[in-house]
């Protein structure tokens, strides 16, 4: 199937009558006032060039800031591609594009026999952590056959997602799964928000890891020993595409007996882990953003920094640790409360 068959559902009228232009005025990186936002939105609607296309750090947040159900970020990425604007240097984009090329030699990995199924996408390192009470009886799929490709939103190559996605969906569906739990938030957001915005059919129900963990923890409630620690939560970019599942998180934290500290950069105001900002080579901004974020965690006296995305973990964990805060993935925090991981 050709990628151009999929067209973004975007309602121009909503923007034309928008009272806030929240998508741009709330952007944490571009510093845009209402007047500028109105002007630049108009340019984007007309398919014209705008500084937004060049300076966007691809944090995805405007998708969440727009409360009218429009898709400002997807529009930005489509325009970037159309105009040949590369957010990152050419060789960096090339490496990312190469990374996702389906290779004949790839083997689809499938551990287990039946549902529930967790897709680990391209994170083989986590296979060994999908164990214990929390994941009893779970099957795992893994590898490029199940790679959502959404990462190309960061690199001005969204058509690659649309080009590869139908095949990925076919690969998953061919196993006959009715539901798939996505370990990586980005996958979940692909098969929900992105697929929906481009009217790509998904013949299974994507389940977010939060939902899975919450349901499982409820079942294991009696075995949970409250952790009684203060945690800072690091949101990742793709959570902006699917904020509807965020409520599970607070419920999970409640079950685990942890306190999500009040801080400046959480929830809608969360800061990027910095990884992609560095990837786009905005190096000074990368240092600044990580510093602001970690100081904020420190000021809020967080003992743990909880990650939902392995990529965020990769880019921020070392920094967090240096400041005396323990980095941990969410599912590992759950296991901790079940006394399955060393503290």
């Amino acid at each position: 199937m050709q990628s151009q068959n999929f067209v973004l559902k975007f309602q121009k009228e909503l923007c034309e009558t928008c009272p806030t232009y929240d998508c741009l005025t709330r952007c944490q990186y571009l510093n845009i006032d209402t007047k500028t936002a109105e002007r630049e939105i108009r340019k984007l609607l007309n398919g014209e060039d705008s500084f937004v296309l060049h300076e966007c750090v691809t944090c995805y947040a405007c998708e969440e800031y727009c409360k009218r159900g429009n898709h400002p970020f997807y529009l930005i990425t489509d325009l970037q591609e159309k105009k040949g604007i590369l957010p990152a240097p050419k060789p960096i984009v090339k490496q990312w594009v190469n990374l996702g090329i389906p290779d004949k030699k790839d083997i689809p990995h499938f551990y287990g026999a039946e549902e529930p199924v967790i897709s680990l996408c391209l994170f083989p390192d986590f296979v060994n952590s999908i164990r214990g009470k929390l994941f009893q009886g779970v099957s795992i799929v893994l590898g490029r056959h199940f790679f959502c490709n959404l990462v190309y939103l960061h690199f001005g190559k969204p058509s690659l997602i649309r080009e590869r996605l139908p095949k990925i969906i076919e690969n998953i569906a061919s196993h006959g799964f009715k539901e798939v739990v996505f370990f990586h938030d980005e996958c979940y957001s692909t098969f929900t928000s992105y697929a929906d915005a481009y009217e790509i059919k998904v013949p299974f129900r994507p389940v977010h890891l939060f939902e899975y963990l919450y349901n499982r923890l409820k079942e294991l409630k009696d075995e949970i020993k409250p952790l009684n620690v203060r945690i800072a939560y690091q949101r990742n970019c793709s959570t902006r595409l699917t904020p509807q599942k965020e409520h599970y998180l607070d419920k999970i934290f409640e079950l685990l007996g942890v306190e999500r500290v009040e801080r400046k950069y959480d929830r809608e105001n969360a800061l990027c882990c910095g990884g992609i900002i560095r990837g786009l080579q905005k190096l000074d901004l990368f240092v600044e953003v990580q510093k602001k974020n970690v100081e904020d965690m420190k000021n809020a006296k967080a003992e743990y920094c909880v990650f939902n995305c392995p990529a965020c973990y990769s880019s921020l964990a070392e920094r967090v640790r240096k400041e005396g805060i323990k980095p941990i993935m969410l599912h590992q925090l759950c296991k901790l409360a079940l006394r399955e991981e060393p503290r």
Partner: protein, 460 residues
Amino acid sequence: MDKIYKALAEIVGEEFVSNRKEELYIYSRDSGLSEPRFPDYVVMPRTVEEVQKIIQLANKEKIHVVPAGASLSLSGLTIPQKGGIVIDMRRMDRILELNRKGRYVVLEAGVTQGKLQAFLEENAPDLCHSLPEAPPSATVVGNLVIHGQGNLTQAYGFNSSMISGLEVVLPNGEICRIGSCSLSPYWFSIEPLPYLAGLFLGWFGTTGVITKVGLRLYPKKKLRDVELFVLEDPKLVSEVIYRVTHTEMAEDITTVAQPYPLMFQGTIMIGIYLTGDTEEELEFKRRLIWSSLSDLIKAKEGGFMALTPDMKVGLLEKPMSSLTRSADILKGGGFVYCGAIIPIEKFPEALKKLFEIAERNGVTFAHTGRVIGRGHCMMFAFAYPFNRADLESMEKAKRALFDSYVATLEIGGVPWKPGAEEQKLILERMDKNSVELIKRIRELLDPNKIMNPGNWEVEL
């Protein structure tokens, strides 16, 4: 009993000499692709006097002598081309002196990289030597003899320029000291005396047996980090290296280009290693390097790759064991490389040749490189994996290797640690008076032609 065997046993003790086939077998080959050839004896001396006696014996009996460290050059430099005695130096493995304030050590010739590294970590954690990526069992002296390169080469030049003194047993059996140690108890410098060290470096054991070396040490910072700058256009490599070396903020600078994993295909990665005693020092250096490349980044020509913690661990390991693993793409436990010492501006040409050679010979390849001095030149490795269980893959790798030596010379480079065959290629092209000088020096030092024959051999 064999007269020579007996004489050797008298010198080193029966335990440390052998003429048994199964032991000679080990010394008849190395892990590269050179033709195996058997020595007649192998001997492991413990002292300089024992080395001296072996050499005197060899002169008397007109038998050839090949000094060997761990035989890890991969180009067959310790394979006895014409038989004779292999002197395995590895029993002479004492570290004799550490001068902390003067930043040097004095070692016997059999001390391995691993031993020196461990010794310094324990006894002088703020000092280090320039460590090659060779396995830890490689000897320090073997590396110096072949003008090796290590992690400090970018800052201080070839490892062999870090020598501060030598003790050598000459081919006639005389023991000779070179540098300050020839007239003072201190091994701090080769200069300012006539530069005799050059008579023993790069000569592959044809001019004498080094028994001791004074080696310079350098500040070792507490923290070490790495950045990978990625490019697509090979023509920009020399520019990047010029700028980064200009900052004087990097420790080591390396290059990588390989077709696997697919992610790396079509890009060139420049490893920039940073050190600092504090996070602030690291950060300061990092920023200077970032800003030296900012306009290339702005022009979207290059950028820094995101490294996962695991990738960093691999890249920061000293020596980098992942290098051997990634070279072993064919899973056959073998790889060879031609290290071309080239002007950095020749990088694009060398890379093009590498692609052509790999294609022509139907082999896969990997390139790694290392900047030498402040961009004065670089080592460009044309590396080819092979499978030891597959003769055809060995043949192909061998042909590709030979082509790489020719290519190195064609682009105006100098092959590093060439094997006997490739040395001939070099001598054929070399200025005739230089060749004549090499010949005369060898005749002068080694009138009986006992030392590592087949190497740097001028046939006129």
